[in-house]
Amino acid sequence: MATKRIGMEGSFAIAEAVKLANADVVAAYPITPQTHIVERLAELVANGELNAEYIPVESEHSAMSACLGSSAVGARTFTATAGQGLELMHEVLYVASSLRLPIVMTVANRALSGPLSVWGDHSDVMATRDCGWIQIFAENVQQVFDLVLCAFHIAEDPSVLFPTMVHVDGFHLSHVIESLYLLEQEEVDKFLPKYHHPYALNPDKPVTIGAFGPPNIYTETKKPQDIALRASKKVILQVWRKFSELTGRYYSPVESYKAKDADVLLLVMGSFSETAMMAIDKMREEGQKVGLIRLRLWRPFPFDEFRQAVAQAQLLIVLDRALSFGGPTGPVCSEIQAALYPLETRPKIISFVGGLGGRDISVPTFEDIIRRGMAKAKQGRLDELEMIEVRE
């Protein structure tokens, strides 16, 4: 195993993982803050370091469409996008999951227009919540590298065959340089099986892919799709376990930090979790029983792991980095409420929204969120969605 730590930008670490996975086709269209990923991949192909076809398509809609084609013919396929690009792909995303094409995509999460913002938040992710992809959040550059490699393994497993997104906060992760451990090619070759789609397009064994479904059969195609996506969690866990045996780095669907004996839990997703940990540390020093929950697996939603992780807490404060305009709370918080509602005993839930359009959340702000959440819970103000640090 590579034991040397090297410094690398998040985007380059993603490209490195794609190279080590020996991807066959990359079809992509540039958009900030995803650009460094696809530029680096183009460079690797141009230098013969990655033996792949790079398709410089004319739009994200075509990027994802080209990925459908290459994946359907049996080629290991990668793309990356962000914000508006993800939205332009929207209708194609559903086709990828419905046709069971294991495309791997990193999304350098970005706010949505308008006003135009190239900076990070989770508005783009949340708009694609129900598109049937496996969705995984990374928190630092090491995780980005690891999770992209694992994504190929998960997506292409014959019992899974679902496209997979790895979410990487725009700029906060795509553009930071951090130290990480890479893997050797031989290690990756041993870890990652070859991609073989059982129904790939081939004249020797003609198949019809993407037939039209009248009302008497559409539902029968959707139920197995949902069952299969839920069942993919088993494989996700297996792959992460196998990866930990190789690297000693362990991933789980719900990650906790100082949460075991905590009365109050904060829930975040993505790169902000590391700042949130510092706030937890500080408050712990002050004797407060607070902890952190980080949702790594967004789809399929890890109900069991999540319910278990928050079972002992009295209060759960959820920070969303996206709005659901006119909706009940932030989109993640709504899911959390739904996930806990059937339980007899459950923590109280408070919803905050912040970190929109690239606005940072500092350690003191996280502390403030937790304190305010506690105060609101005491006052019984559970039905309020609060946007933090908004200038009036």
Binding site: V57, H61, S62, C67, S70, L99
Partner: protein, 308 residues
């Protein structure tokens, strides 16, 4: 078999790659064109089909009419999906994971090609993928109920360009899609029509030999949408060619060839009067169309004479 046209029809394969039992309307020119295309293509192809009549009539779950590998995903992305398949085959062949020389063939209607799919098509042609793109032009969005497209001819009544008290129906002239394809400087562009089956199959065979993008634009008579008795499909296609409304030509490496020349074009009225979609047209409008057809035909002939 260099040129199917000079051999007897019985030399055409009896093998069907588009099985019968599909759900096309009777007299459908599009399904006939696809069937003939498939005969010319043979088995070593992967077909990418846009949303539209062809996809709907040939693929209703749990059945399929396709005896060759076939994929449908969306309406506007056919050329992009074909790009991905072509690139996939290329890299897998290089890495030893694919062992035959398969031609990728994209198929779409006029809407899927000239309107909503134009960007994806332009991108794929410009990038130079090795594939054939065939537009089956029935001159409207037939699948959704005869709405106008940019291929709908001037004066035609459709459900979104209806003829009315103060409208003649479609008020714009048909977009010249073969010229747009040719403007990408691709090796092969052709027009064809089901009423000239050997010419159509010949052109498909030619396109198969091309390295790089080939574009074929097939006029596909639609009795349902054109308000035409279903036994007149072939006749209407012939008249479209003989009146100069839809000339059959090829552009090979920029060089124009007119495959059927008519020194004396038949009057467009012979073509228009067969079809209910033109029934409302006044003599003046018919004359206007006649003028336009003449001028366009002369323009095409000049290109043929000049060679490009």
């Amino acid at each position: 078999m260099e040129s199917l046209a000079i051999y007897a029809p019985r030399l055409v394969t009896t093998k069907e790659y588009l099985a019968s039992g599909h759900r096309a309307c009777s007299g459908c020119g599009e399904v006939l064109a696809v069937r003939l295309t498939c005969k010319a293509l043979g088995r070593n192809v992967i077909i990418v089909n846009a949303t539209g009549c062809m996809e709907i009539v040939s693929s209703q779950l749990p059945y399929t009419s396709w005896e060759v590998p076939w994929i449908h995903t969306l309406f506007e992305n056919t050329a992009a999906v074909a790009s991905g398949i072509e690139a996939g085959i290329k890299v897998l062949s290089r890495k030893g994971g694919y062992s035959q020389k398969t031609k990728v063939v994209a198929m779409a209607g006029d809407g899927g090609t000239m309107d909503i799919g134009l960007q994806a098509l332009s991108g794929a042609l410009e990038r130079g993928h090795n594939f054939i793109y065939i537009c089956y032009d029935n001159e409207a969005y037939m699948n959704t109920g005869i709405q106008r497209s940019s291929a709908t001819p001037f004066g035609a009544s459709t459900t979104t360009s209806p003829a009315g008290k103060i409208s003649i129906g479609q008020t714009s002239w048909k977009k010249n899609m073969p010229a747009i394809a040719a403007a990408h400087d691709i090796p092969y562009v052709a027009t064809a029509c089901t009423s000239y089956p050997f010419d159509l199959m010949n052109k498909v065979k030619k396109a198969m030999k091309v390295e790089g993008p080939a574009y074929i634009h097939v006029l596909s008579v639609c009795p349902t949408g054109w308000r035409l008795p279903s036994d007149l499909t072939i006749k209407a296609g012939r008249l479209a060619v003989e009146t100069g409304v839809f000339p059959l030509y090829e552009i090979e490496a920029g060089k124009y060839t007119l495959n059927f020349d008519f020194p004396q074009l038949r009057p467009v009225e012979d073509y228009l009067k067969l079809q209910g979609r033109f029934r409302h047209l006044s003599k003046e409008v018919v004359a206007q169309i006649q003028e336009r057809v003449k001028a366009e035909y002369a323009k095409l002939k000049r290109k043929v004479i000049q060679g490009s």
